[in-house]
Amino acid sequence: MENLIALLIAAPLLGAAVLLVGGRRLDAVGHWIGTLLSAASFVIGLVLFAGLLGRDAGSRTLIQHLFSWIPVAGFQADVTFRLDQLSMTFVLLITGVGSLIHLYSVGYMEHDERRRRFFGYLNLFLAAMLLLVLADNYLLLYVGWEGVGLASYLLIGFWQHKPSAATAAKKAFLVNRVGDMGLSIAIMLMFTTFGSFAFGPVFSHVGDTSQGKLTAIALMLLLAACGKSAQVPLQSWLGDAMEGPTPVSALIHAATMVTAGVYLIVRSGAVFNAAPDAQLAVTVVGAVTLLFGAIVGCAKDDIKKALAGSTMSQIGYMVLAAGLGPIGYVFAIMHLVTHGFFKAGLFLGAGSVMHGMNDEVDMRRYGGLRKYMPVTFITFGLGYLAIIGFPGLSGFFSKDKIIEAAFAKGGTEGWILGGAALLGAAITAFYMTRVMLMTFFGEERWRNQPTRSPEAPSAEPAAEHRGEHAEPHPHESPKVMTIPMIVLAVGSVFGGAFFSIGDRFLHWLEPVTGHSEGNSPVSAWTVTGATMVCLVVGVAIAWAQYGRKPVPAVAPRGSLLTRAARRDLLQDDFNHVVLVRGGEHLTRSLVYVDHTLVDGVVNGTAAGFGGLSGRLRRVQNGFARSYAVSMFGGAALLVAATLLMRAV
């Protein structure tokens, strides 16, 4: 049964290979091949899941050793897969949501002549993501880690002829590379400390080394996680990543890839548990990010960017939870899964809206769409309720648990983190309600729009293809798109309840992550109550701002915070000034140095000899008598020198 694990990865990998090498002759069927193979991978995942359930909780870890990858003296990297409850969860999430989004893309990318390649990239992503979660050592994980980075690079920049897209893709890859630096340093540290970087040996020997080492390793892992999961300070790429086609945003930048950081932390729980300082850092990063993302989410008028902000903030929750240690691991993963459902659903919904609105992304040009695209409205709405944590829906369970856990951390930290989490909940309720209202309620602001204003450029060039710039005709999306939305909506409604009732999920993951009940200063019910209050407050404020009053079609100037938030709280500006400008100056000056100094020395020497030669040449003035003089002088010197030699 272990041998099936490789197939999980093989299927989408094959798909990618076939689609990318296959060439034009596959254009007609390419998308179906892609979808089929990802579905196949999902089926294999189910089979393995069944197999795992068949075993007792203690022995639900399958290891498949494929071959020895890099055998060098004292350095062993093998291609070995580990399938345990944690990775199983991810496998199902990835392949499941992945397949749905493949299906959705069939419809969404219908009019793109490079659809085949798109599906090739999607499959490539699946393969890499599965490798990431199935790897049994950090180096192999690193391969998957960069693999998803590559896939995301290709997909964000899928519409390469748009400079904005190309830039966004490059930015994403670069920021991630910074994170990857952290991962590779962590691996090197592990190697020098444990002589290995395979999960088993590392975790089992955590006890044998100094805490300082472990903290260093943990912090490096955190850096990696920040890069991949768009956590502060490496979050800046996620917003721009929305340049990619919406399915990509749904799959990669909401449901799966961006959560890899959480996976990394949870997977390395053993290390983090032994490094409390690092854990604190993790929680801080999580808390800051969840507020940061939420605030950004409030200010964006671009529906996808708003959702991106929310993604950032939700992952903040997960990271926060993961930072809490055994108290939080399970809930981090649980929220990750439920978030996978509803956020993917929301993005697909957004995509469907854009599909119907000539790829308009500015929510200020939406409004009253509920009667034009009912299915989208309902699924989106359910997703909305789920994310704000409406009682009974999946978000409610997972987020509530995290907030509890935050308090359970105890001490002032506990209060601060819990408070941040609560505040985040309130803001979440606010901006999601805002999105909801601006999109589906209010008057139809998209009517009698002469032409789209230049400063809100189309996110998706398909519009140009269809050449409709005039008034859009909102319409429901085709089945192939709505079905996945419905499925995901179902997931986001019942997922949480299904997991939480009888702590199913807890018991499922506990063997891997371990679990401990913190001693919360406040009772669970109080927390829930507080959460509800925050929720209501958030919704109320949003309603007051966007439900009662009509939404202006052109964004008002807004408060300082709003304006800052619109610019991602000036993070990009900081990067631009410090890194980009500084870097440009550095390189330019280095080029100058290389040319004048390093090369100059060489050319200077040559020139120097030339000049010397030219000067010495003049001695040869053509007069025989001066030649005789030099001979005479030479003879004199010769004699003198010889006598001198004898004298000394």
Partner: protein
Amino acid sequence: MSFPLLTVTAALPALGAVATAAVPAARRTAAKWLALVVSLATLALAITVLVRFDPGGARYQLTESHAWIADFGVRYELGVDGIGVALVALTALLIPFIILAGWHDADPLETGSRRWRPTQGFFALILAVEAMVVLSFEATDVFLFYIFFEAMLIPMYFLIGGFGDRAHEHGEETASTQRSYAAVKFLLYNLVGGLIMLAAVIGLYVVAGNFSLQEIAHARATGSLHMATSTERWLFLGFFFAFAVKAPLWPLHTWLPNAMQESTAPVAVLITAVVDKVGTFAMLRFCLGLFPEASKWATPVILVLALISILYGALLAVGQRDIKRLVAYASISHFGFIIMGIFAMTSQGQSGATLYMVNHGLSTAALLLVVGFLISRRGSRLIADYGGVQKVAPVLAGTFLIGGLATLSLPGLAPFVSEFLVLVGTFTRYPAIGIVATLGIVLAALYVLVLYQRTMTGPVKPQVSAMPDLRVRELVVVAPLIALLIFLGVYPKPVTDIVNPAVKQTMSDVHKKDPKPEVEAAK
């Protein structure tokens, strides 16, 4: 005395060069085919060497030894260890692609005289270089090595100075002057290095009395040959200088950008992927093998220089406007990695460095040859002259991207394995240097992706709108390289198995042991 396989492997291309040069002026195509066939035959021989080589066996295998210049204590001694085998194979592998890629690079525009035969010359010179490079990988006699180390400059010099990119922004006149400047710079740089090495070679003779690598090593091991510390250091410096120029190591690198910029892409590949490898190879075999103590003495400085090369090369690559110059600086950065791996004095570092030589050969070849195809289409080397190529020539763009990703050593492609090994190997002994070096990863991503974005993406520039996609010949060149890059990225074991024993030997040469991990976890 068995069949002299190594000699034949080198002699074949040499004879091929003569034959190619002798082809009559009118028969250009014949010359091309002849050269191609010869290079393929050489490849076959190299593969036989690879097969006949037994990783578990003696250090130097397939050895040949004949008296040559007794007065100088010089013998004609050939032999290959794992490292040599790998590099011989790499050389023999790349040459056919180089020839194929340069198929039309030397077609005369208008011929001045009927006896002027540039095409024949071009391919003959390439084969001559191959012969000399192969011999320098095989020589186990310092003097013999030196001879070919120096002699290969001449054909390279003519290749750089004699054959440049077709269309040039400032017309043929300035082009030829710039070319000859680059060629002279290349030659003088390396000649100076070589002559300083000559002084050291003579010094070695004065000290040791012969040039046989094995004999000297053995004599030193048994203590029958004692070198004063200062002597050893001076000799080491003499050797290292030459290799550092060839490699090239900062600050002796400035010849490379000019040379690569002015020469045609295949020749540029010949420089970085093949000829420069002799430098790093020689560091591993001669510097460490002959002067272990001095090598250890110099390690800190060399590591710092290597580190500078890594970052400096990468940063300058970011700042370039000329595609080939960019690749040149990228190579400088990579050579920094190789040298760092060699002098980290750990098995990971040295295996990584050796692997790196091979992988860098493949990745640079892939990238540069595609760049060459690109330039031959648009007739400009300036990044700014391109844009949106991806739309009109997707296959070209795709291969270009893969080459680029290999250059930034993306996991899953061959260079990643070697680069990571080098980093780990360095880190275990010199953590600080290892960490700073990882910055190179980010910078590599920067210059590759910027290059890709500027040339391939964005709106299609009018000048490139009519650009044809890769032709069959060009695909035949690129596809195998990419396949190899992927294969060696996923399954480098075949190479590591060959390399590891040799590295073990080198480590014992310098009496170094890998630092033990803090806790013995793996075992």
